[in-house]
């Protein structure tokens, strides 16, 4: 199984080399074989007696993160979809993309995406799943922005990136919680510990986080906004990523985890509600669109909502219908995207207002579109697979296990959503292929597409018809296993076309068709409703506003304190220091004062202290350079005198010398420096400065006093005193410490002085401006 994940990646490495030959052979031809062979490999596993396969490859065993692959019915369905539609899309892209495009880039991104998608659906390890999940986001970002010179492409790529990565990260949080609670990183192991998870207090949080991931990826309301903008991607990408595979990753995730959550009422309410709202909103909005791909995008949103809702119902019938519809939707939506691409390619526009009457010009595409759109609409013909899944959907809405109000409402909402689905499907088909020809409005003269381009939609439409004619052919060997993987009670469910006249889902279908025809024909009359709803209520507006506001506010916050004023930074640093330190002292009751160990107070010391205090305070008020110098000298010599009194001859000496040199230096500089001025600060600013200064001084004093009062350990200086002569060979203990016991300090202190001297020298000597002259 690992090769399914690795082969696309490996081939992607060689694509740049292969694409060098682009003038001879289209790069897509090499690429085509990758998904095709994977498809052939996996198709042989389909059968009635399919059993899950598990494989493990070590990656980070110490963290329990290994490449665990697990292939059950659900994974098999997705693997076949990814590889099958993948080969068709590559085939289509060979004819769609010109050799002048940067094909190497395109196919590398596409293969990267394939790897990621195979990884997502095959992983059994949540963290590996997350890794591949983000890889799908990244490769999708690259593919949407493929035509990076277009502003809309970049906008769409960024939007999808932001939204899906947001969801991905939430999901990651959910996975971490799950793995902590269960003590395992394997999904199957988690499923076996369902009771543990369901009884956890974090259950709502886990569910919310994982659902966020699934909803953003699968474009559920209100995170659907990225999908219409992702239509800026080349059409093969839209067909592949944004209809058949990536947007179903969220569906896959819900399906994968529903054995755990389906017993929880919150899961039913959230998933069904979001799904059904997405169904209605997406189909309602699709009718309004004028761009073919935008119609299909909203249609995808609404169909995904339908699948999501069915997974939310969680009943065996609903799960079966959901899985069946995943397959059906992939077939008809893939083909419709390809047809939209053909129309774009052959007429030069995708604007439905400019298109019309193309049936005779593009007969094959039109025929294919009939099947696609009618299947999407769920028209009751026995050869359309969309009808079966729609009927199963209606059936599922009718027998919900929950007795809540939501369960009562769901059938009506389902009908509502389906009516609009019918309307936009008809609009898509009849708007493009019937009506008056508007050839003069088209940039190109339309003619039928080349056979190669039609090949993929033909195969997909054949799939639509075959599943439509023989639904039970795929059912027993294939859909059945997938449904069982989601809900173990999902027994074999025979799909039939006719259940008799008194079958309620049939009535619902007929209501949908009848009302749909009426609404479609009167479309122009009620289109004013869009001015009321959504009107100005647009989620794009919310998103744009959010992104802009985030920009403005973060810039505002940064600008508010990063003003470039050193004084402000200094004040902030000091304020933080004071608040944190005193706050901590207050909280821990840290202040202590004790009168033990205190030296006597003598008059001479006190008078020195008083002089120093007076001098220090005077520095603030002095306005004359010389006065400032003298005052500073007084403080310095005062410190030196205190050193003398406190039996520190060496530092007293140094202090005297250093103070003298400093004073001399000040004199030198004062000559050149501007005169000291009275501060021109406002009184408020002065008060703030004073508060900070006094606060800091008081804080340091308090720290000093409490530190002095709490004497935990004796000094280690006894050792220095004892060994100074014996080991150091000197009587002067301070000097022995400086050069012998802690000589390294001295070495670097010398270095500091040397560096300072060099710096001063270069500051004075090197003048950039003069050099330039």
């Amino acid at each position: 199984m690992i090769f399914a994940v690795l082969i696309p990646l490996l081939v992607a490495c060689f694509i740049p080399t292969l694409s060098k030959a682009k003038n001879k052979i289209h790069t897509g031809i090499f690429t085509f074989f990758v998904p095709f062979f994977i498809f052939l490999y996996f198709i042989r596993l389909v059968g009635k007696d399919f059993t899950p396969i598990r494989q493990t490859y070590n990656w980070i065993p110490s963290l329990g993160i290994n490449l665990d692959f697990y292939l059950d019915g659900l994974s098999l369905l997705f693997v076949l979809l990814i590889s099958g539609i993948g080969s068709l899309v590559v085939l289509y892209s060979i004819f769609y993309l010109d050799k002048k495009e940067r094909l190497g880039h395109f196919y590398v991104y596409l293969l990267l995406f394939m790897t990621a998608m195979f990884g997502v659906v095959l992983s059994d390890n949540v963290f590996v799943l997350y890794t591949f999940w983000e890889l799908t986001s990244i490769s999708s970002f690259l593919l949407i922005g493929y035509w990076h010179f277009k502003e809309r492409s970049r906008y769409g790529a960024l939007k999808s990136m932001l939204i899906t990565i947001f969801g991905g990260l939430s999901m990651f949080g959910g996975f971490i919680l799950l793995s902590v609670i269960t003590g395992s990183t394997s999904i199957q192991e988690m499923i076996s510990q369902t009771d543990v998870i369901l009884s956890s207090n974090y259950l709502p949080l886990i569910l919310a986080l994982i659902l966020l991931g699934a909803f953003t990826k699968s474009a559920q309301f209100p995170f659907h906004i990225w999908l219409p903008d992702a239509m800026e991607a080349p059409t093969p990408v839209s067909a592949y990523l944004h209809s058949a595979t990536m947007v179903k990753a969220g569906i896959f995730l819900i399906a994968r985890f529903s054995p755990i959550f389906s017993g929880y009422e919150g899961f039913f309410i959230t998933v069904s509600l979001v799904g059904i709202v997405t169904l209605c909103w997406g189909s309602y909005m699709a009718v309004r669109q004028t761009d073919l791909k935008a119609i299909l995008a909203f249609s995808t949103i609404s169909q995904l909502g339908m699948i999501m809702a069915m997974l939310g119902f969680g009943t065996p019938a609903a799960v079966f219908a959901a899985v069946f519809h995943i397959l059906n939707h992939a077939t008809f939506k893939g083909s419709l995207f390809m047809i939209a691409g053909i129309i774009d390619h052959e007429t030069g526009t995708r604007d439905i207002r400019k298109l019309g009457g193309l049936f005779t010009l593009l007969p094959i595409s039109a025929t294919l579109a009939i099947f696609g759109t009618f299947s999407m609409a769920g028209v009751p013909f026995p050869f359309l697979n969309g009808f079966y899944s729609k009927e199963l959907f209606f059936e599922a809405t009718l027998d919900l296990e929950s007795a809540s109000l939501l369960a009562e409402l769901i059938p009506y909402l389902a009908i509502l959503g389906s009516i609009f689905t019918f309307v936009y499907s008809m609009y898509f088909f009849f708007g493009v292929f019937t009506g008056p020809k508007k050839l003069n409005q088209l940039p190109k003269k339309p003619h039928e597409a080349p056979v190669g381009m039609l090949l993929s939609p033909i195969i997909l439409v054949l799939g639509v018809i075959l599943i439509g004619l023989f639904p039970n052919m795929v059912n027993a060997p294939f859909i059945q296993h997938a449904a069982e993987a989601v809900n173990s009670n999902a027994e074999y469910h025979k799909i039939g076309f006719w259940h008799g006249w008194d079958f309620t889902p049939l009535h619902m279908s007929l209501i949908v068709v009848a009302l749909g025809i009426v609404l479609f024909l009167t479309r122009k009359k009620w289109s004013g409703v869009y001015k009321v709803l959504p009107g100005k209520l647009s989620f794009n507006r919310v998103y744009d506003g959010l992104v802009n506001k985030l920009d403005t506010y973060s810039a505002g916050i940064t600008n508010s304190y990063m003003t470039g004023s050193l004084k402000l930074y200094m004040s902030l640093i000091l304020a933080t220091m004071i608040i944190v330190t005193t706050g901590f002292m207050l909280l821990t009751d840290g202040f202590t004062i004790s009168s033990n160990n205190l030296a006597d107070i003598t008059i001479i010391e006190v008078s020195i202290v008083i002089i120093m205090v007076a001098a220090a305070i005077a520095t603030i008020f002095t306005k004359h350079n010389m006065a400032a110098l003298l005052i500073l000298g007084v403080v310095g010599y005062g410190v030196a005198l205190l050193f003398v009194i406190y039996r520190a001859p060496d530092i007293a000496l140094t202090q005297f010398v250093v103070e003298t040199i400093t004073v001399a230096l000040f004199i030198l500089c004062f000559y050149h420096l501007p005169k000291l001025r009275k501060t021109d600060d406002s009184s408020g600013s002065k008060t703030l400065n004073a508060v900070l200064a006094i606060g800091f001084g008081a804080m340091m004093t308090l720290i000093g006093i409490s530190a002095y009062s709490t004497n935990w350990f004796d000094s280690i200086s006894d050792y220095f005193l004892k060994t100074s002569y014996k080991l150091g060979g000197g009587d002067n203990v301070v000097n022995v410490i400086l050069v012998d016991m802690r000589g390294l300090d001295t070495l670097f202190e010398i270095a500091v002085l040397g560096i300072a001297a060099l710096a001063i020298f270069s500051l004075i000597k090197l003048k950039k401006n003069k050099e330039a002259e």
Partner: protein, 112 residues
Amino acid sequence: MEIIILILSGILFATAIYNLLQKQLLRIVIGTALLSHGAHLFILTMGKLKTGQPPILTEGVSDYTDPLPQALILTSIVISFGVTSLLLVLAYRTTQENKTDNMEQLRGKANE
């Protein structure tokens, strides 16, 4: 006495900070000098004041003051001297180059 010295160093810190918060470069240099004085006194006090003889080994004396804080202060004096003098020269050069000694006006150039 320790408490008085600690209060003194607190006052030195306070005046130093007040000077540091001014706009004139020279006041900031003065503030730095005061701050280092405060710190030195602080370190000295932590090692107890006046409990014995100076830490120079002499016959018959067993009670010395703590030599370790003194060694630390000595290192610190030299370093702060280096820093203060560099700062002074820097202030001098800044004023000369930019024709101002007001911190609020020293904000770099627009294209930097």
